[in-house]
């Protein structure tokens, strides 16, 4: 059963303020989690195109370590 926006608003407005607050927080949380999942999915699609998606964790870790040292060397050049 689907509700119209107005019907939904009526139902929400009938809730206690604390329930309304909890509901708003939960909606924000779901939006955040879905946004993060979409972000992650797009990132993985790019890695697939670049044929990097199947890299093993050790390989990824080694690349990250290399990048870490390069960035720090550049950022803290004396």
């Amino acid at each position: 059963m689907s509700l119209t926006i107005n019907e939904l608003a009526e139902k929400i407005a009938a809730l206690d303020p604390s329930e309304q607050e909890a509901l708003i927080e939960r909606v924000a949380e779901l939006n955040f989690q879905r946004g993060l999942e979409t972000f992650s999915q797009k990132y993985r699609e790019r890695l697939t195109q670049e044929k990097k998606i199947n890299q093993k964790a050790d390989e990824v870790m080694a690349e990250l370590e290399k990048i870490r040292q390069e960035i720090a060397a550049d950022d803290y050049r004396t």
């Binding site: 924000a28 949380e29 939006n31 955040f32 989690q33 946004g35 993060l36 972000f39 992650s40 797009k42 990132y43 993985r44 790019r46 890695l47 998606i53 093993k56 964790a57 990824v60 870790m61 990250l64 370590e65 990048i67 870490r68 040292q69 960035i71 720090a72 060397a73 950022d75 803290y76």
Partner: protein
């Protein structure tokens, strides 16, 4: 000490393994899904490393997402104090690792989450704990 109201720093590997859904590190994705329940500081070195791994568009999208929780996710572009960086170098850290340790100490963060088992392992007397993502989830479960 629990992670409840303590700020944590997530090492770059936690972010990247989480985004990748890296099968060897499933806890990283779970940690990212719970970001809105943590207090996370993101220091400059991690930001620069994320920027090196993400496209400009991806980076903007990530900032937009993290911006949902400005009270819980603190993005810090300031450089670590050179004196602290040198301190960790003298203790045996490579420059990049010294920068991360310096950031964590400087921000008074008590917990660094990293999937690198050896990270800072040999450094004695660290002013913060190094946990992996699975440890963090366990601690979060214990304080439910």
């Amino acid at each position: 000490m629990t992670t409840g109201h303590n700020w944590v720093v997530l090492d770059t590997n936690v972010w990247i393994f989480g985004f990748r859904n890296q099968p060897e590190h499933p806890a990283c994705s779970q940690v990212l899904r719970r970001l809105n329940r943590l207090y996370v500081k993101v220091p400059r070195q991690v930001l620069l490393e994320l920027r090196a791994n993400l496209s400009e568009k991806e980076m903007s999208e990530l900032f937009r997402l993290l911006g949902h929780y400005p009270d819980r996710i603190d993005i810090r572009w300031d450089k670590a104090e050179m004196e602290l960086v040198r301190k960790y170098q003298k203790l045996g850290c490579k420059l990049g690792d010294a920068v991360i340790a310096a950031h964590v100490e400087e921000m008074n963060v008590r917990i660094l989450i990293s999937e690198n088992r050896d990270f800072l392992e040999e450094i004695k007397g660290l002013p913060f704990r190094v946990l992996n993502a699975e440890d963090l989830l366990r601690e979060l479960e214990s304080i439910k």
